[in-house]
């Protein structure tokens, strides 16, 4: 029994550390877009991120957490030696955490998701045996890492091309923006809530039938659009600023829309990335409590709450500085661009979350930004840096795996 408590305590400490790290570093990429375009102040961004990261983690984080917990390692092989899974999950958390710390110290763009998946695959393949890895599932995950930036890029291209056609290229862009921006708000809120209701809520124990799910999503989206319409109606043109830049007021209208997409982005990020911290924790808890590998039980909600809470603490203690720094550099992404990138990325991520696939938020967002760029929306994108970001995921997987293997053997030797 004492060993079990030790396992849970260690897993909780490592898991909280990971959640803290995600809140401190990762969230910045999701929120900095809104801060950079001045749609939100830092304080508002922190508030939005805290609320929606938490909601995303708790309401829609269950499926990905399940995947991390039991979708990568074949639990059947471990029914006689469940403690191996505990060592492995502890090692994976520590490995991913260590690697992220090293990487962010050196300014390397790495993904939390890639390091944790690499770590789990590493300890399972080397520590237990190549057969212990569910290669089919891992293959799907790796494929999704290629597909998710492409999908987000494609959606972003379509969204931004429609913005250009309907609003920006028209002789009366301000009137057009007032008319169409609530429609985009409706679409954003509708997609996110619908996917969450259909795919996420069952992990919290809520079951809503299909018709009611659609009705609920439409109702929520409608409320969001109406509130948005009122907010937009209050924006008055500023002739002085307008003289310097024609699109000043138009961008302010898009700024209102960006508040909605920022919420969506934070929600999406919470729903996918919380699993990186608490997926292994959930695995350790279920083994430690029952002594067997409970492949059937759902992820306990309190674990999701712990993960969401950890992210919020990371955000509040350290994340605000990172958001401010990153935000200052993203001034090219004005609200009319930023919203398209965020909406495309958030939609892609939430769908992945609903399906239980862990993907990289940052890579998806980079894909979305490139999509806006292809629609001739961004003044200058440095393709060298984009290349470096995508190369980094190839490096992160073996790095996470190697560290996890080392920690796994250490834990197997020293832990009871």
């Amino acid at each position: 029994m004492e060993a079990e408590i030790l396992y849970i305590a260690l897993a909780a400490i490592f898991g909280l550390f990971m959640a803290w790290g995600i809140g401190a570093n990762d969230v910045a990429n999701a929120m900095a877009t809104s801060v950079g375009s001045r749609a939100l102040t830092i304080k508002q961004a922190i508030l939005v991120a805290a609320v929606f990261e938490f909601l995303g983690a708790v309401l829609a984080g269950g499926a990905v957490t399940s995947t991390i917990r039991k979708g990568i390692v074949d639990a059947d092989l471990l029914s006689d030696t469940p403690e191996l899974l505990v060592y492995g999950m502890l090692a994976s958390l520590l490995a991913a955490g260590t690697w992220l710390l090293v990487a962010s110290r050196n300014g390397w763009p790495v993904s939390t998701t890639h390091s944790i998946v690499g770590a789990i695959v590493g300890f399972a393949a080397v520590g237990i045996g190549v057969d212990a890895v569910q290669w089919g599932q891992v293959g799907t995950i790796v494929m999704s890492w290629v597909v998710s930036p492409l999908t987000a890029g494609f959606i972003a291209f379509l969204i931004f091309a429609s913005v250009q056609r309907l609003i920006l290229s028209q002789p009366d862009p301000l009137e057009r923006a007032r008319r169409y921006v609530p429609v985009y708000m409706f679409l954003a809120a509708f997609t996110i809530t619908l996917v969450t209701i259909l795919k996420g809520l069952k992990h919290v124990g809520l079951e809503i039938d299909l018709t009611n799910s659609y009705l609920l999503a439409i109702a929520i989206a409608f409320v969001v659009a109406v509130i948005g319409k009122f907010a937009i109606a209050r924006i008055k043109p500023d002739p002085k600023a307008e003289k310097k830049q024609h699109f000043y007021t138009v961008e302010r209208v898009f700024g209102v829309l960006m508040i909605v997409t920022a919420c969506s982005m934070a929600f999406a990020h919470g729903s996918n990335d919380v699993a990186n911290a608490i997926g292994p924790l959930a695995a350790v808890i279920s083994v430690a409590q029952s002594g067997v590998i409970g492949a059937q039980s759902a992820v306990p909600v309190w674990v999701l709450v712990v993960g969401g809470g950890g992210i919020v603490v990371g955000l509040a203690t350290y994340g605000r500085h990172v958001i401010a720094t990153v935000g200052e550099k993203i001034t090219q992404l004005t609200p009319s661009r930023g919203f398209a990138a965020e909406l495309a990325a958030a939609t892609t991520i939430v769908i992945a979350s609903g399906t239980g696939i862990p993907i990289s938020t940052t890579h998806t967002l980079v894909g979305a930004v490139l999509g806006v760029g292809l629609a001739r929306g961004i003044e200058a994108i440095d393709l060298r840096v984009v290349g470096r970001i995508f190369v980094s995921w190839a490096v992160t997987i073996p790095a996470g795996a190697f560290l996890a293997i080392v920690f796994f053997f250490v834990f197997r030797t020293i832990l009871p």
Partner: protein
Amino acid sequence: MLANIFGTSPVQPLEKHCDIAYQCSKQLNDFFAAVVDGDWERAAGCRDRIEALEHEADDLKKEIRLHLPKSLFMPVPREDLLQLLLVQDKMANRAKDVSGLVLGRRMHIPEPIAADFLEFVRRNVDAAKQARKSVRELDELFTSGFRGAEVSLVESLIEELDRIESDTDDRQAALRAGLFRIESGLDPVTVIFLYRVIELTGEIADMAERVGRRLELLLSH
């Protein structure tokens, strides 16, 4: 890390560069007024300002080129932006060349053509000003994605630029004819250089027109 994927945007610096090139050529109005008055001290002052502005444009040009590596992905080809930068810079260069020539040789503008000449200079400066006005729309063009209402606006600005340029052409021809009528009474070397001054000054409007052509190329993408 996400932030680093954004390269330095060349748009604001390009607009700034065109503004400096215009300010530089605008000094020619004062410069030639001083020359016609025979006030060389004032002319030298103007010439100093022209040189300083031309330097400033040069420095900014180098700066912009430095921040436009080949790896940048932009809505318009990098080469076209660099060409635009080059012709903008030439407006400043011509202002420097012509003022240097006139000041160096202490050239007088003959009384019979002086008024027309000053008007000719003013129209060349107008062309540079119109070029600046067109280039100032660059950021709006990037915002609207080079299509629709903004494109028509820039096209009309370029049309006006072309009208000013062809006006300077007419004035240049008239000025030459005027100089031809009086040239027998002037020192031959001076006459040769007066033709040269008229030609160099006229090139400012030519360069301004080429700024318009470069902008048009951007629109056609």
